[in-house]
């Protein structure tokens, strides 16, 4: 309860030291319920180092999980540890954590530099230190040239990068990003992805959530899949994919003469079915996606087929979820 007279940024527990061997994040059987609604059920998870993607459809519990980690929500049951410390009612560990909330609202009347340097002082920096720090993090996310423009005039991508810069103040060891790519144009997406990958290379623990598989795939291979508040899968995206490769997949191929292409494709061993959708496309069914993808280019080149598109409709989060939950598709 006592105010922090030293204002050095350690908040309440001034002698707070992270436990040396504790994982950065530790969740033990964490559940969160709102009345009869189960937002999270029995999540057990430990993470340290590297970039981890939290995948889940909207409403899967990603944001709830982050808010529990950040001590904004109290878990209904289970243990939460951030650097070995319970974050509920204890802001001490936040000196090592950066959080990018999902909300759209920002202080539009502030400039990016203002916004970051003002809140940087809450880390115990003086005014001058905070200004330098704001320059540093804005440079890191590539917004230094627009640092003194009002946030209200920023594009969606610039706003997201401003929020990320805000989270990077004080060089935290753990950075949590809630849907940082949502609503961004492709260029902004690439920039943000590069920033996240760079943080991973710098040895930070980064947790990033998304509901789009391809986004996460471009950032990291280490993923956690949440579905209806449950932890569905955890591990390397490739390993999950390999498993999926052995179940029937559909591949849509757009071309000028589907029937000619079908004659060539039928020779690939893993193909077990072909459907003609329309005069300009065919759908191939395969039991081994990897094998099919490795053989397809040579088939196309040898047969001199004119292929306009290759689409993998099953290669998205919904079908992974469908597979993992044992249903057909989502």
């Amino acid at each position: 309860m006592m105010p922090d007279f030293h204002q050095e940024g350690q908040a309440e527990t001034q002698q707070w030291q992270p436990e040396q061997k504790a994982p950065v994040i530790l969740l033990e059987n964490v559940s969160k319920t709102y009345g009869k609604i189960h937002a999270l059920t029995g999540i057990t998870l430990a993470l340290s180092g590297g970039v981890t993607g939290i995948l889940g459809l909207n409403g899967a519990g990603k944001s709830t999980l982050f808010k529990i980690l950040m001590g904004k929500l109290k878990p209904s049951s289970g243990q939460v540890r951030l650097f070995g410390t319970n974050p509920w009612k204890n802001p001490a560990p936040y000196s090592r954590v950066g959080f990018v909330p999902e909300g759209e609202k920002m202080y539009d009347w502030m400039t990016a530099h203002d916004f970051i340097s003002t809140f940087a002082r809450l880390n115990g920096l003086t005014r001058d230190e905070a200004k330098q720090e704001a320059d540093r993090v804005l440079d890191f996310v590539g917004l230094l040239d627009v640092a003194h423009k009002q946030i209200g005039r920023f594009s969606k991508g610039m706003r997201q990068r401003t929020k990320i810069a805000h989270a990077l103040v004080n060089d935290p060891e753990l950075i949590i990003l809630d849907e940082p790519l949502q609503g961004c144009d492709p260029l902004a997406r690439t920039t943000i992805m590069n920033v996240i990958r760079e943080l991973g290379r710098m040895g930070r623990t980064v947790i990033v959530s998304s509901h789009i598989l391809t986004e996460i795939e471009r950032i990291t291979e280490q993923i956690v899949i949440l579905h209806h508040g449950r932890l569905l899968a955890l591990g390397n995206l490739h390993a999950i994919r390999e498993k999926m490769d052995n179940i029937p997949h559909r591949i849509d191929i757009g071309c000028d003469s589907p029937k000619d292409l079908a004659k060539s494709v039928i020779d690939i061993d893993s193909v077990h079915g072909i459907i003609f959708q329309n005069p300009e496309a065919l759908t191939v069914q395969t039991r081994n996606l990897g094998d099919f993808h490795s053989n397809l280019p040579s088939v196309i080149i040898n047969g001199q087929h004119k292929v306009t598109s290759i689409d993998n409709p099953d290669d998205d989060l919904a079908s992974i979820l469908g597979y993992l939950t044992g249903g057909g598709g989502y």
């Binding site: 904004k72 936040y94 909300g103």
Partner: protein, 441 residues
């Protein structure tokens, strides 16, 4: 030592000033802030206009003792007849029959002819004798000694002022002493003081001090929570109680300077427009200072309370409305029954003690002024009811002695201030604790 100062300065340059400054800047960007502050200014300006208007008015000179009348029709006003010992009710008895004959007075001369004369007030159990019979209708030789000393204190033609053991003021006048004062001078002085007290107590300490926090402090934390921007502050290593406290300080950073400006404007207006021979009534800066201080204390406590209500419940402002009604009731009660114990369960009851104590210090003759106004209220021998002087009623309504019992006004002021600070600290404690355990979506 220099090193220490440097540390404190550098320390304050971090979290506390960051949130305080941020809060003040945030207020400046909101239209609602300006609307509320300008409305407050308009309200006080209107009250000031009414005040200036009252000060510019001409008050009719009233013949409070009715002696300008010529009851018997012999052209001599009753007062003149009484002075010369003739019978005011007999046509056949008037000073014109004297040798040499006395010409009749202009009846105007017998209006406002006997103004108040007092230079001291009673203190403790001391009895003082004041008053002077300006028009001589008491001192006249035609009266007997007992007629000149109707209050039986052994002094002819005086007014005896005393305090009873319970602190009540007693005003006991001989007949025909100070019985027809200058109504205009009295009305202006009384209305001037009543206006300062009324505007100060109801305008500043109630209306301004409750409505500004109601609109400005309720959203301090709540609005940040509902819009989701609270995360930018709370994901930093800072205790929530600190955020609560610094946000309220930021709110005070806007409201207190505003109150200082409003008070200064009012003090200048009443200082120049007030009655009296001097150009400016400097002595009344004290009462304005007390009004300002009471309003600052009230905005502090109300700010903490409304911010807390906002944290407790999204629609906390609904709870603030019955509370404001309660405070209005207490404000009115404190002016009538300042010693009522129920006032101790309010904020404004304490805040108004500060104003009351200061008015006791700044205007030690206040009770005398009020009683003098009532002293002309009599039924005369003809059965005419004489009313109290203009301004007496409002002055009596707005003036109250500090209700903490028989103690020095300074002590009352200190006790009230301490209680208000304790109230603020308690609200900070509860509000902080509540905010700390609040889940933020």
């Amino acid at each position: 030592m220099a090193d220490k100062t440097n540390t404190i300065f550098r320390a304050l340059d971090r979290k506390a000033s960051a949130i305080t400054e941020f809060t003040m800047r945030q207020y400046r960007t909101k239209i609602s802030t300006w609307v509320v502050l300008i409305t407050g200014l308009v309200v006080i300006s209107l009250l000031m206009l009414f005040y200036v208007d009252a000060m510019q008015r001409d008050f009719e000179a009233i013949d409070n003792d009715g002696d300008s009348v010529d009851s018997d029709g012999d052209l001599y006003p009753d007062g003149q007849e009484r002075l010369y010992g003739t019978n005011p009710f007999s046509e056949l008895s008037h000073p014109g029959l004297f040798d040499p004959p006395v010409p009749p007075d202009d009846p105007e001369k017998w209006i406002n002819e006997d103004d108040f004369d007092w230079d001291e007030s009673p203190t403790g159990t001391r009895i003082v004798s004041v008053g002077y019979d300006d028009d001589g209708d008491c001192r006249t030789d035609s009266r007997t000694s007992s007629q000149k000393d109707t209050n039986d204190n052994g002094i002819e033609c005086d007014i005896e002022l005393s305090l009873t053991l319970t602190g009540e003021f007693r005003y006991d006048s001989d007949s025909f002493v100070d019985e027809d004062p200058d109504d205009e001078a009295y009305a202006k002085e009384a209305l001037h003081r009543a206006s300062i007290l009324g505007i100060g107590k109801l305008g500043f300490v109630f209306i301004i001090s409750i409505f500004i926090p109601l609109f400005m402090a309720t959203g301090l934390i709540r609005d940040e929570m509902t819009s989701g921007t609270m995360h930018y502050m709370l994901t930093k290593p800072i205790a929530r109680t600190e955020v609560f406290f610094y946000r309220v300080i930021g709110y005070l950073g806007i409201v207190w300077p505003y109150l200082i400006i409003l008070t200064l404007i009012s003090a200048i207006v009443t200082g120049f427009a007030g009655p009296g021979d001097s150009l400016f009534r400097f002595s009344e800066f004290g009462i304005w200072l007390a009004i300002l201080f009471a309003a600052m204390m009230a905005t502090l406590v109300y700010g903490m309370l409304f911010c807390f209500l906002g944290v407790m419940w999204r629609y906390g402002i609904i709870l603030a409305i019955p509370f404001a009604a309660w405070e209005l009731g207490m404000a009115l009660l404190s002016m009538g029954v300042p010693e009522s114990p129920i006032l101790r369960f309010s904020v404004i009851g304490w805040a108004l003690i500060i104003v009351d104590a200061a008015s006791m210090i700044v205007w030690p003759d206040m009770t005398l002024l009020i009683y003098s106004g009532f002293s002309v209220e009599t039924t005369d021998s003809l059965g005419f009811e004489r009313e109290e002087l203009i301004g007496t009623d409002p002055l009596q309504y707005f003036y109250a002695t500090p209700g903490l019992g028989d103690m020095s006004p300074f002590l009352s002021m200190i006790i009230a201030t301490v209680v208000l600070l304790i109230q603020a600290a308690a609200l900070l404690f509860i509000g902080g604790a509540l905010f700390k355990g609040k889940e933020i979506e």
